[in-house]
């Protein structure tokens, strides 16, 4: 979890001045906003689409282009991050719908065959376990997947996720709970090896 700097809302966000500069068309402010959020948006897109770098790059570009072209409409009635993550969610889900229409096979969740337990430690070294977890996350239903990703990559509270997704905190709690259970079930073969029981 070192990569996820635990930031407070103030630290991880950007000031209202930057947003107002963006609304005036200030290119430097756009750049500052992009630099602040690009990795988080990219990570969400990457794991939403099962580790497809090219697609995640394309989705990230779409998110920021929409953000910049619509930022004049942002009225500070909600948190800027809520607005950003709602946009990210919509772009991810729209892109997935579009891809499914072209390729119904994309609707089939990718599943990797579990391998022998005795090689687990070695696979950690090679990052294969991370790939296996990413694959299991990609296999979650989109509504569960985006809730999990917003929780773990954006470190949002349930209330913030609910605002971004347009549902109740109770629904978010239910989706995250189901997501955890499915991950635990699908990756049960990793229990007690890589993830020693505490």
């Amino acid at each position: 979890m070192e990569q996820f700097a635990v930031l407070t809302t103030d630290e991880r966000g950007i000031g209202a001045g930057v947003i107002e500069s963006c609304q005036r068309g200030d290119r430097e402010a756009f750049r500052a906003l992009f630099e602040t959020y690009k990795d988080r948006v990219f990570s969400v897109a990457l794991y939403f689409f099962g580790g497809d770098d090219a697609l995640a790059s394309d989705v990230t570009q779409q998110v920021f282009l929409k953000l910049f072209t619509r930022i004049a409409q942002f009225r500070h009635e909600s948190e800027f991050t809520t607005w950003l993550y709602r946009l990210t969610t919509n772009v991810c889900i729209d892109e997935q719908r579009r891809r499914r229409r072209f390729d119904p096979l994309a609707a089939i969740a990718p599943h990797k065959t579990p391998r022998a337990r005795d090689a687990a430690e070695e696979r950690v070294m090679r990052g294969e376990v991370a790939c296996e977890i990413a694959s299991a996350v990609a296999g979650l239903k989109p509504k569960l997947r985006i809730a999990i990703l917003l929780k773990y990559f954006e470190e949002l509270s349930y209330a913030e996720i609910a605002a971004a997704l347009g549902c109740s905190p109770g629904t978010v709690a239910s989706r995250i709970n189901r997501g955890h259970k499915i991950l635990a079930r699908r990756l049960g073969h990793l229990r007690g090896t890589v993830f020693h029981e505490s």
Binding site: D39, T60, F68, A130, Y158, P169
Partner: protein, 371 residues
Amino acid sequence: MKVELDNIFGRHAARRLSAFAHGELSDAEAARVAEHLRSCATCRAEFDEIKFGIRLAETLPAREAPASLWGGIEASLARDSAPRARRATGARFRSLTTSRLAVVSCALVLLLVGGVAWLHFRPSPGGAWDVSAVAGAPTVGQSRVEKRGRLTVGEWLETDARSRAVLRVADIGEVEIDPGTRLRLVETGQTEHRIELEHGRVSARVAAPPRVFFVDTPSAVAADLGCAYTLEVDGAGRGLLQVTSGWVALEAKGRESKVPAGASCATQPGAPPGTPYFGDATPAFVVALSRFDFAQGGDEALSVVLEEARARDTLTLWHLLARTEASGAGCGRRPAASDDGKQRPSGGARNITGAGRVATGARGVRRRSLL
């Protein structure tokens, strides 16, 4: 802000365990869950599973966005800001309010009105089609189409994320062009009109004899048989045709799929066109069909198609009949030779060839146990 979950709290605490682990419950609720966990072995086991799920999710590493991303965004922003700059220049020009300028402006307006009227009412000569901007500013070649323009043979028409256009297909119909589309006029004449759709989405309405209007895509050619349809091509060259009236033929690799109103058909580069299916077919039917057409799904995929087929799906089965025959029983399965060297079916009546199974399926739709 703590989550209030009283309405979902039943005898067990299973549905709120993630919220409990994430510290999302109010103090009172957290205390109730903790108390429950002490006395309920079922929920303790469930909580272990949730904690394992949390540890798995926490393991996913964050990734840095590629450094090249900003370049693409900046280029798009620059393209969008160009018209704004032109509008600003125009505003400065208008501020020079001299009488000479007013006279010149009137003359320009008259010329503009005359030009627009001429563009609108003139007959469409061979070799070029009229383009109307519906939203934003599409481009033809390097020029922006502010309202109306012309697309000549060989020129590319492109719409960005916020622009739309309508293309007049000589005197036989029109094509609506959605945002994010790039197409080229290949040919226009008495007997054939043809465009190349590189990517994006178009909706065509054509009133002409069959096989006069064609759309080339990276994965197939759509031949109009007198109809209206939508054709979409993604960045990988995969296509999806949805016909709203009449018929369209999709052709590639020596194979043709005839698609009627209400049906869709997918195409992929390097493969013959997919098998048409009606839009209300079951998701399992559509997925199995895609596996059969593009992912060597063979026997297994065909079985699902037959299981899921409804009476209305005879369109699909009719196409499959020819395809399974053409591919030697459809699943690469040949009759096995017996000990005496004679060819005979590899099994009994339940082990019939792909073509036979499709034929059986076409006769006996609604039967759910064909195999």
